[in-house]
Amino acid sequence: MTKTTRRTMLTGFSAGLLAMTALSGTAFAQSINLTYLVPSGADGVAIAEELVKTFEAANPDINIDIETRPGGSEGDNLIKTRLATGTMADIFRYNSGSLFQAINPAQFLVDMTNEPWQADVQASFKQVVTAPDGTVRGAPMGAAMGGGIYYNKAIYEELGLAVPTTWAEFMANNEKIKAAGKVAVIQTYGDTWTSQLFVLADYYNVSAKDGSFAGRYTAGEAKFGTDAAALRGFEKLQETFEAGFFNEDFGAAKYDDGIRMVATGEGAHYPMLTFATTAIASTYPENINDVGFFAQPGDEAELNGLTVWMPDGLYVPQTTPNLEAAMKFVAFAASVEGCEAQTRAGGASGPYLINGCSLPEDVPPAVSDMLPYFAEGGQNGPALEFLSPIKGPALEQITVEVGSGIRTAADGAALYDEDVRKQAQQLGLPGW
């Protein structure tokens, strides 16, 4: 062995030793390991990764592992199972509103009522993560969504249409679009949940006329079938079907077809929740500026406002061994830096519910169209499912029937009231 090789070996060895000590040094500093459970899907995971990265940079002693879970009812079962068996991750993201109530928050989740950051969380969000005993047990995660109608700006420009503020204007626009030989309203009953939008997104119009509807509905006094304002949602669905505004394959088309059609101008209107904006931005980036958004119009122009879906919550189970570190992460996610990290990762899909968070200038039009409803003088209100624990499980089947002309609006609303009654009885609500 020559002298040089021996020297290189020696250098290499000492370099290796140095590297090892450096490595073990960082490993030593990251003494707390947390797990963070999020719903799967590229968009949600990207947001979680960016949040964790920014958080770890500020807190080198905490290391967070992201776990994913399926969404939908499989995910609901998993969350309940892991909570019941005490194996939940240290922090997890889950729906707010009625699904939050279903996981028995007072028994399983850490009370966050007195955390200092709660001062900056908007009251409208707090009410959807409040346990029955009056304690707040979650932090907002993600942006608020609006339920309303996506429209293709290119078609509007070509036909010289204006954004409607009343249902009559909306129908007149549809008439013109249909006369021009285009699809006026896109419906995608291949994914049955998409059929509910006309009914669910109409709730702002119901509450604008009758602010006490949610309370009376929960008490079993107000019904969709008998309340004229509430029945309008079903009637709107029936009217658009009977006018022949739908795309030809509305019975088989899927949600993915719907966002493609409204983005590329194959159809003019698509009633949907605004989370679709991120999907459009990732799949059809060159069409994103053609897509606008407006609230589902009611019967009077001055009562025009947006039905809002609250974002998910971030929760900490009581079984976590690292409570302090987990709460630190929740506080970070509910701060202005937290929403900036979310915007960096996923683009802005809507306003955040934390005071002081703002959106960048270059948001897609579908997002900036939403902002006036949240600004001063704008009107918005939460969807019914955040105000009342009852939502009938068969609504999507009923709206498919009404939207396909199998059942009339009045008949569908009456059937839905029957469906709701079963759930209210299951929940043991008084007055049913």
Binding site: T68, R69, T85
Partner: protein, 275 residues
């Protein structure tokens, strides 16, 4: 003319199997070649350009090379569970078939109960936590063995009844101990039905989704079917990556099938003759 009359049924059968098996597979492979936009159309079309390699790289490296971990975990899980299933299934089947006691009725009832009664998740997790096996791969192996055992035993018992008892007696007369009778005489004769068991159970365990989901939380414990959820959510699904992932995780079972193809058919018919 007689040629057509003779073979038309076979031609129809081949055509049907092509439509049922090959067309969906071709759809998966084609979609794996596409870019996100074309893939989201979900139609049966020729890919515009070859994006396969980029898709594969993205699928494999997603979430810190999760797919590699998942392949290791799934392989260990499948091999270990199937090995235990074959040994225990054959042993129980042998004893049940050969030795008639008063307990046989009860044991058969328990086996059928294992087939018919659906397992409950939460009590199983409590049990696993009690014996410190929750969230560990060997815990899940035991669960897969428990769920697969009744079916395996039924197959073995039916097959062992076709093996003449004289073989055991001859071995015993020659001085074989009970274990020798089983391992040296009976087990080699069970090869056809063992292959059936290996194939049926390894496909089932490799493709299992719900059990790993509930009993094996954590990124380090991912199995291949769970990686599908990296690319799929309710509102935003990357179909090109999803289908690339499906292609990648379909390859191992496919290889198993190609290798054991002939034995599978033999084993199936061998087990089916006597009940």
């Amino acid at each position: 003319m007689s040629f057509i009359r003779k073979y038309w049924l076979s031609a129809v059968a081949i055509l049907v199997s092509v439509v049922v098996f090959l067309v969906p597979f071709a759809f998966i492979v084609l979609t794996a070649f596409k870019d996100p936009k074309q893939a989201s159309l979900l139609d049966f079309s020729w890919p515009q350009g070859n994006y396969l390699w980029g898709n594969i790289v993205e699928v494999v490296t997603t979430r810190n090379w999760m797919l590699v971990t998942a392949f290791v975990n799934s392989s260990i899980l499948t091999v270990a569970s199937v090995a235990l299933l074959v040994i225990f299934g054959a042993m129980v089947g042998f004893v049940l078939q050969r030795r008639k006691t008063r307990l046989n009725g009860l044991i058969e009832f328990l086996i059928l109960a294992g087939l018919m009664i659906p397992p409950a998740v939460v009590p199983t997790i409590w049990l696993l936590q009690g014996i410190q096996l929750f969230g560990r791969l060997h815990g899940l192996i035991l669960i897969e063995v428990a769920y697969g055992l009744p079916f395996t035993i039924l197959l073995y018992r039916a097959f062992i009844s076709t093996i003449p008892r004289e073989l055991d007696e001859a071995a015993i007369i020659d001085g074989a101990r009970p274990f020798d009778v089983f391992f040296k005489v009976i087990l080699p004769l069970l090869w056809p039905v063992t292959v059936t068991n290996i194939v049926v159970q390894s496909v089932a365990i490799f493709n299992d989704f719900t059990n790993p989901l509930y009993y094996l939380p954590g990124n380090a414990n991912a199995t291949v079917q769970l990686t599908l959820y990296n690319f799929q959510s309710q509102f935003n699904t990357s179909y090109n990556l999803l289908f690339t992932n499906i292609v990648l995780i379909t390859i191992p079972p496919l290889i198993v099938f190609l290798f054991f193809n002939r034995q599978i058919v033999a084993g199936m018919t061998a087990g089916a003759v006597k009940g």
